[in-house]
Symmetry: C2
Subunit: 122 residues, 2 copies
């Protein structure tokens, strides 16, 4: 049963629902941007941090740990000198990223309409 | 230009990008659940709070204010005795909710795979 169907039955949103934990990671402020940044690219931590902009080292590391534990991000440590670590999306992560990107692109397209609403309301 | 295309060019994620603010609201912990709860339904504040589960009055009110300011949620105050307030999705909100629901349903479907990853990692 999908989350949508559960919600329609009224029992979807039990706070204990395990989907909510994953949804929280995927839709977290930085989770969304990490998934989008890694679409079709393998990046090092510092590259990822620059790409996203405005994220602290600590929050980026935390977000990557969540997504790695969920099986969405793959972390590969290269034992070279100097050592470095690459991040990329797993197949599962690519699927998640497609959905997140569809939402983000919809927002970008709808932004003029949203901006009009904000002006009217302020 | 879509957010995806901007990101690929490398300038997508400027912290000042106005889309990021809306993305933050829509993908906020409670924003996601509010959009899903209001799909195809008009609910009062207390109904919405029960439906979501685990959200404080303060956080639900804040989330509804964000979504209302973005033009995604419509708030209608009925001047009856006792007075009450209804919340529903605007057309724009319905579009946002479809994307959010697609993501949430994907998570629900993928949860067994995600759970396997978590067990393997712990």
């Amino acid at each position: 049963m999908t989350l949508t169907a559960k919600m329609e039955r009224g029992d979807l949103m039990a706070a204990a629902c395990p989907s909510r934990e994953v949804l929280k990671h995927v839709t977290s402020r930085w989770g969304v941007l990490v998934l989008m940044a890694l679409r079709g690219e393998t990046l090092r931590f510092s590259q990822l941090r620059r790409r996203i902009g405005g994220v602290s080292e600590r929050m980026l590391a935390q977000t990557l740990q969540w997504l790695e534990a969920d099986g969405l991000v793959k972390r590969v440590a290269h034992e070279v000198v100097p050592p470095h670590v690459d991040y990329s999306l797993t197949l599962l992560g690519q699927e998640a990223a497609e959905h997140v990107a569809a939402l983000a692109d919809w927002i970008e397209t709808s932004l003029p309409v949203i901006a009009d609403h904000r002006k009217a309301g302020s």
